[in-house]
């Protein structure tokens, strides 16, 4: 087991495509780190540089206090689970799991003991003599994990291991991986584009955009204190709402009405003109289902609900609004960066399941104004971020740099969509 330190890692492909740009991330011994971002953000490339399948253009990769830039994958003693599992189809499950031990010329008795142990952990006992071709997706996934845990590797690396499974199995395997990692206490780096996996699995999460690190923090810090528009929009489901806002004193003017925000937040946003306000869907509520003493006029507004999706425990309400062109442009770009389609500007609100609001109703909605964030529309920077609780933020320029890199990438390859 070992800590992994990435120091100013750069990856530039032969054709000049800048895949990873000056990324520095420390993974502590035993930590579960998630690399997350939309497709093409360089997260897989970064993982492959850790394991040694991809050359490092610049920077230092230090594993367990040793610089490994020039070491072959076999000399780094890491184990990896590939997206498509990469099992050896000509070998039985037993031999697949035993493969790393056989390569290390371990005696048969030791091989047998370790394979049995791994197969017991992963409940593969009855499949040991079968070939991978006869296994289901989830079983293959477990064999791939067996092959990873069977030897005493310095760290585990996962490259989108669950993306080929169906939704139910994915949930089960997610908890399984989490449990396994906690039990073995081994340093783990896990690549995913799924923000749910990122939030649930990681001790810390590194969010990447176009090969530039945006924020490296715990899931809670990312959720409560996103460094910029990109992180705010990426983390959380349904995503954070972005609205045009004007700040005057402690009053914030939104398309629906005016809210009062705490003074310290307001102070950071003075004199900046038109801003983008970010409010998470859960920070709204139907005023009629709340205790009367919590609801004040300053924190409520009336709006006509367009669509309601009732899920039982909660309901999502959609309220369309008009955004001025300068804000809309930024939001359209953001939507593109997040692999989404640019849709109409609308507010998504998560309501209590008890709410009786129906489609077309004029409803009174309460907003938790303390949780509101204000973003600078030109840089995307979060002006109201609580820097002490936001983990590592590479700097306000991270988002702008990603934009720049994006242009360079497009110049090299306009259809770049590698993960």
């Amino acid at each position: 087991m070992a800590a992994i330190e990435m120091k100013n890692i750069v990856k530039q492909y032969g054709d000049g495509f800048p895949a990873v740009n000056d990324v520095s991330i420390d993974v502590e011994d035993g930590e579960f780190l998630i690399l997350v971002g939309p497709s093409g953000c360089g997260k897989s490339t970064l993982l492959r540089m850790i394991v040694g399948l991809e050359d490092i253009t610049d920077g230092d990769m230090v594993i367990g206090g040793k610089k490994v830039n020039d070491l072959a994958p076999r000399d780094r003693n890491l184990s990896m689970v590939f997206q498509n599992y990469a099992l050896y189809p000509h070998l039985t499950v037993y031999e697949n799991i035993a493969f790393p031990l056989r390569l290390a010329n371990k005696p048969d008795s030791e091989v047998d003991e370790k394979v049995r142990e791994a197969s017991k952990t992963l409940e593969l006992d009855e499949h040991l003599e079968r070939k991978p071709g006869n296994l289901s997706g989830g079983q293959r996934q477990r064999v791939a994990m067996g092959r990873a845990i069977v030897r005493d590797a310095e760290a585990f690396l996962f490259d989108e291991p669950l993306s080929n499974l169906d939704a139910k199995l994915r949930g089960q395997m997610r908890t399984e991986i989490s449990r396994l990692q906690k039990r073995l206490g081994i340093t783990t780096v896990y690549v995913t584009h799924d923000q749910t996996e990122a939030m649930t699995l990681g001790d810390r999460v590194a969010v990447l955009k176009r090969g530039v690190l945006q924020q490296h923090a715990t899931p809670r810090e990312l959720y409560e204190n996103p460094a910029n528009l990109f992180v705010a929009g990426f983390i959380g489901s349904p995503p954070m709402n972005f609205l045009p806002a004007k700040v005057d004193g402690t009053k914030v003017e939104l398309p629906f009405g005016t809210l009062t925000i705490p003074e310290d937040k307001a102070a950071k946003a003075q004199g900046k003109g038109l801003l983008i306000a970010g409010i998470r869907p859960d920070h709204f509520e139907d005023a009629s289902v709340m205790d009367a003493d919590k609801v004040s006029d300053e924190a409520t507004f009336n709006a006509t609900v367009d669509v309601v999706e009732w899920l039982g425990n909660e309901a999502y309400a959609y309220i369309p609004f008009e955004a001025p062109p300068e804000v809309r442009e930024q939001l359209t770009q953001l939507e593109k960066d997040l692999d989404g389609e640019s849709m109409r500007t609308q507010l998504v609100i998560s309501l209590d399941g008890a709410s009786r609001i129906k489609e077309g109703d004029e409803a009174t909605i309460w907003v938790d104004a303390r949780k509101l964030h204000l973003f600078d529309p030109s840089t995307g920077e979060n002006l109201t971020m609580d820097a002490d609780n936001a983990g590592i933020v590479p700097g306000a320029e991270a988002l702008a740099k990603a934009e720049e890199v994006g242009k360079e990438q497009d110049a090299v390859d306009p259809h770049a969509a590698t993960t």
Binding site: P73, Q83, A86, Y88, L103, G133, R140, R147, R151
Partner: protein
């Protein structure tokens, strides 16, 4: 298949029998001929089954030292040519499938051009060269041209197989602690086994059946192969070749080919890679 109607089943069987007759009748004729006595074939009788089946032809041919020597030559030359050709082709095909290097297309087109070259056109130059180099009438004298004619096909076949094998297999092996060579030998080659066996069979058949070079580049039984040796079975009367003897030799020559196909057929299991990756 279970839903097949009686009519289509009958049709399938009729077609099947017709094709079998078309393919196997000449073979059956040769086998029947090999059991006829010399007198019977010489009399010009055209009946299918031999009147008095006899093993004399087989006894005679096995006692013929020229023929047994030719068999040994055939086996030796074909096997060595096959093994070398498959080894070289595997390495070359792997490089072509995996590496990016300048002149890759040139190598492939050249290989194809060689395969298209008519063998007969090379007989003269090769004869001259081999007599100069002292390779005339030796095993290497046949093995080298056989390899050069079978390598292109083997390389093309194998590189197609290698391209089908996902890169991740090899990367997984390297992460698991394998050297490039171990990854190649323990993962890539077993996965490409159907391709390797296909290439081996094609190469072996070419070398086993080849006649033009075998007759032109040899002069004694020390390196003459069976197809060439058979052309020396003339018998006492030039107008009356020993058909029964020739048929017997043909049967004996065909047997190893059938055995090899049956052996390798079990190895050529389609879809061996299924289950390697999600699919």
């Amino acid at each position: 298949m279970a839903q097949q109607t009686g009519k289509t089943q009958v049709g399938t069987w009729i077609g099947f029998v017709l094709i079998m007759l078309w393919c196997l009748f000449p073979v059956a004729w040769i086998i029947s001929l090999s059991f006829k006595s010399e007198g019977e074939t010489g009399a010009g009788s055209a009946q299918f089954l031999p009147k008095e089946p006899t093993f004399d032809n087989y006894k005679a041919i096995i006692d013929n030292p020229d023929f047994t020597r030719a068999l040994i030559n055939s086996f030796g030359i074909s096997l060595i040519a096959t093994v070398l050709s498959v080894i070289f082709a595997t390495l070359a095909a792997y490089a072509i499938a995996r590496l990016e290097f300048t002149g890759k297309r040139l190598v492939l087109s050249l290989a194809l051009a060689i395969a298209m070259f008519p063998v007969v056109a090379l007989v003269g130059p090769l004869f001259d060269m081999w007599t100069t180099f002292g390779l005339f009438n030796t095993w290497p004298g046949l093995i080298i041209p056989y390899m050069s004619f079978t390598l292109p096909l083997a390389i093309w076949t194998l590189s197609a197989f290698f391209r089908e094998i996902p890169w991740e297999m090899e990367q997984a092996a390297q992460v698991d602690g394998a050297t490039s060579w171990q990854a190649f030998r323990k993962v890539i080659v077993p996965l490409a086994a159907p391709g390797v066996f296909t290439a081996a069979i094609l190469t072996f058949f070419f070398a086993w059946n080849e006649f033009v070079l075998a007759i032109s580049l040899t002069s004694t039984t020390s390196s003459r192969t069976v197809p060439a040796q058979m052309s020396f079975f003339v018998g006492p009367d030039p107008f009356n070749p020993p058909y029964a003897q020739l048929a017997t030799a043909s049967v004996i020559v065909t047997l190893p080919v059938i055995v090899i196909v049956l052996l390798f057929q079990r190895k050529i299991v389609a879809g061996l890679t299924s289950g390697a990756v999600k699919g």
